[in-house]
């Protein structure tokens, strides 16, 4: 799972003011706190916490999916948000994983473990939450 690599990637984001941490829970995930959203114009929060599962064998397998707190008002408004990919218990909360696959013909480049990581996945989370239906 390369914990040192994940730590390095999260440190890159932390330098930019992004709080992100690796947590075990019912499934190992990275928890990104207060990710910006486009919610202001819809009367929704301007940030939300997001979880992203750490795939077994990372960084070989691609990072995939994204989860929001169960009942999040964003889920019905996000691409893939209503396609429940499972529930995760983490950080004392329940999270619903959405069908979001940026590295799998999903608008992002093909997964390249030499270039991509949890720090670059932030780009996709910001884009995802920046486009609300």
């Amino acid at each position: 799972m390369a914990p040192e690599r994940i730590a390095r990637e999260l440190a890159i984001l932390q330098e930019g003011g992004q709080e992100a941490s690796y947590l075990e829970g019912s499934r190992p995930c990275v928890l990104y706190r207060a990710v910006p959203t486009a919610g202001a114009s819809l009367g929704l929060p301007t940030t939300t916490d997001v979880i992203v599962p750490v795939p077994p064998g990372y960084p070989g397998p691609m990072i995939d999916l994204a989860g929001l707190p169960v009942g999040s008002p964003f889920l019905p408004r996000l691409a893939g948000g209503t396609n429940n990919q499972g529930i995760v218990e983490l950080d004392g909360r329940q999270w619903q994983l959405a069908s979001y696959h940026p590295h799998q013909n999903g608008g992002g480049p093909p997964w390249n473990p030499m270039v991509h990581g949890f720090h670059t996945y932030m780009d996709h989370l910001i884009a995802w939450l920046g486009k609300l239906n």
Binding site: G16, G106, M122, W128, K131
Partner: protein, 93 residues
């Protein structure tokens, strides 16, 4: 290896140390981060094509969207968000 010396002009950042944050990641390569950059060039730092990019200055008192061809005078530590006009990769149930 000789250490480069940097001549500081009053009010202008040392170009070798100029850094900005895009989507929370620091960019400080002097070959890519210039004192004045357009929205398209900022989006290119995170690999988003200009035609699909929405660039927003997120820090400071003048937070605003930056058009692809709009030049921005950079200051150290500026925070930008780059999102996409079209978001793919989400599959409905």
């Amino acid at each position: 290896m000789t250490q480069a010396t940097h001549q500081h002009e009053r009010g202008k950042p040392d170009q070798a140390q100029l850094h900005i944050f895009v989507n929370r990641r620091k960019f400080d390569n002097p070959e890519k981060v210039k004192p004045v950059m357009t929205g398209a060039e900022i989006a290119d730092l995170v690999g988003v094509p200009a035609a699909n990019a929405v660039v927003r200055l997120e820090s400071g008192p003048d937070q605003r969207e930056i058009a692809a061809d709009m030049p921005v005078e950079l200051k150290n530590g500026m925070q930008f968000l780059v999102t996409r006009r079209t978001v793919e990769g989400g599959y409905g149930a």
